[in-house]
Amino acid sequence: MSYIKSFIDFLSAPTISFTLLTVAFPFIFPPSDYFEKKNRQWGVYKLWTNAGGFWVFVLITLFFIVGYFDPHFNLTMTKPDNIPIILMIYSMYFLTWLGMKKAYANDERLDRGEKPEEWNDPDDKVLVWPDLVYIELIALILFMVALIVWSILIPAPLEEPANPAATPNPSKAPWYFLGLQEMLVYFDPWLAGIVFPMFIIFGMMAIPYMDVNKKGEGYYSFKERRVGYFIFMYGWLVLWVFLIIIGTFFRGPNWNFFGPFEWWDPHKVVPLTNVNLSEYVWVKLLNKGLPVNIIARESVGFVAVIGYLFIMPILLAKTKLKHLYDHYGPVRYATLMLFGLTMFALPIKMYLRWMFNLKYIVAIPEWFFNI
């Protein structure tokens, strides 16, 4: 047992778990023919069958049962704050499973030339009142009951009065913000706290204007919009939900990383020395001092960021993504690239931090401008 536990601890280190998830992701939600083939070949699609759903459910539950009897994980797991995350894991899995199951069923129907399951005869309509509103009312009442029962059974934790001189260690945001808090580990506050959340909101609002594919509208289908599925699911499940899980279960004192079965040692020492890109280039590579001029000092970083965000999409539009560009037109293409590349900047920055201890690509603390 302890071997398994330390193996899980080892696996869950963000470097490893994040990499595993990222590598496995295209096989789970295949965005292209190649991955589709592998997906079928290895039977990954079985995840979305009844049996697959059941076994994953059993696996998650098994993990929590083992965790409950583990002295260390028990502490994190049974904290009233963290119960929503446990519920979230189950509900996220259930909803993804349900959606994918329906999408696959529809894909098969479409292959056979039938209409999707949700297709309705235009004459056969249901009324908002009373049909829909009644369902909503019942759902509302059930939900209220559940919330009340929950709040009685597990009282919300009350902590001591706020005191700016004493920050609890570790200091965690409310659970729905833990993804943001993880992003803050890698980015300057103005980026991770302001620009990225705004991009998330505006990006989601922009999706219907960028993705004008009429297929899959009003019914589940994976095959008809697999690239969209893949990108969205990666952003949602890996870059948001998974970061929340990391923040909840795997971050301990001093915001150090701890495996689920590890003891939260407040004195765990993780040797880390983060270095800015400018220092890497000027000091370590060229063996010179940092230039005094700020712009000259950060020029490499600026080139990297501008190249990534602006030059690369232009080059791609002429070469690999020409098809997409012609199809989308300049405005829509530029929007898609801006939002998409910003989203993928998060994992890129995470890896740069993990592998090269890179702190900031552009670091101008003098102007409060760091990227």
Partner: protein, 179 residues
């Protein structure tokens, strides 16, 4: 005599009711607007007033922390963290006062004696004893506060002035008390 038909008037109160002419309408409108602005303005004034506390138990911004000999060389003094939000550090050359506000997002880091660093519990920024940042996301070192000797030989820390390393201000005279 031919019977005269009584034709009812078009409106019941015709003539008696106040007919609004253009001028009257405008003055009513302005009164209405004035009332509205007054009410909302009053509401927001009260609301904003509510944000400011009636009594402030704020410790003075500049305060005496004792004599230079009260501080051991090589030690970080955390006695003033709670009340004044400063660490007082003495090294071989002198004494400086570090602000306890993390330069990342403003949490309060902890001084870890064993590791000899200030470590922030929020996103894991780490600072050396001198306040220089070396790990985690904090983009700049902790700020230092003005520190000097009073006439009676006690040290005064003045939090209204702060010295930023990235601006080269740690060289300035009050950022450091030479002993």
């Amino acid at each position: 005599m031919a019977e005269r038909k009584v034709i009812p008037k078009a409106s019941i109160n015709e003539g008696t009711g106040s007919d609004l002419d253009r001028k009257g309408f405008l003055s009513w409108l302005s009164i209405g607007w004035l009332a509205f602005v007054g009410a909302t303005g009053g509401f927001f004034t009260v609301l904003i007033r509510f944000l400011f506390p009636n009594v402030l138990f704020e410790p003075p911004q500049s305060f005496k922390i004792g004599y230079p000999d009260d501080f051991t060389i090589g030690k970080v003094d955390t006695r003033f963290k709670k009340k004044h939000a400063v660490w007082v550090v003495r090294d071989e050359e002198g004494i400086y006062a570090l602000s306890t506000v993390c330069t990342h997002l403003g949490c309060t880091p902890n001084w870890l004696e064993v590791e000899q660093k200030y470590k922030c519990p929020c996103h894991g920024s780490g600072f050396r004893k001198s306040g220089i940042h070396f790990e985690g996301p904090a983009p700049r070192p902790l700020e230092r506060h003005a520190i000097y000797l009073a006439a009676d030989g006690q040290i005064i820390v003045d939090k209204t002035k702060s010295f930023k390393w990235e601006k080269g201000e740690w060289e300035m005279s009050d950022s450091f008390l030479k002993i």
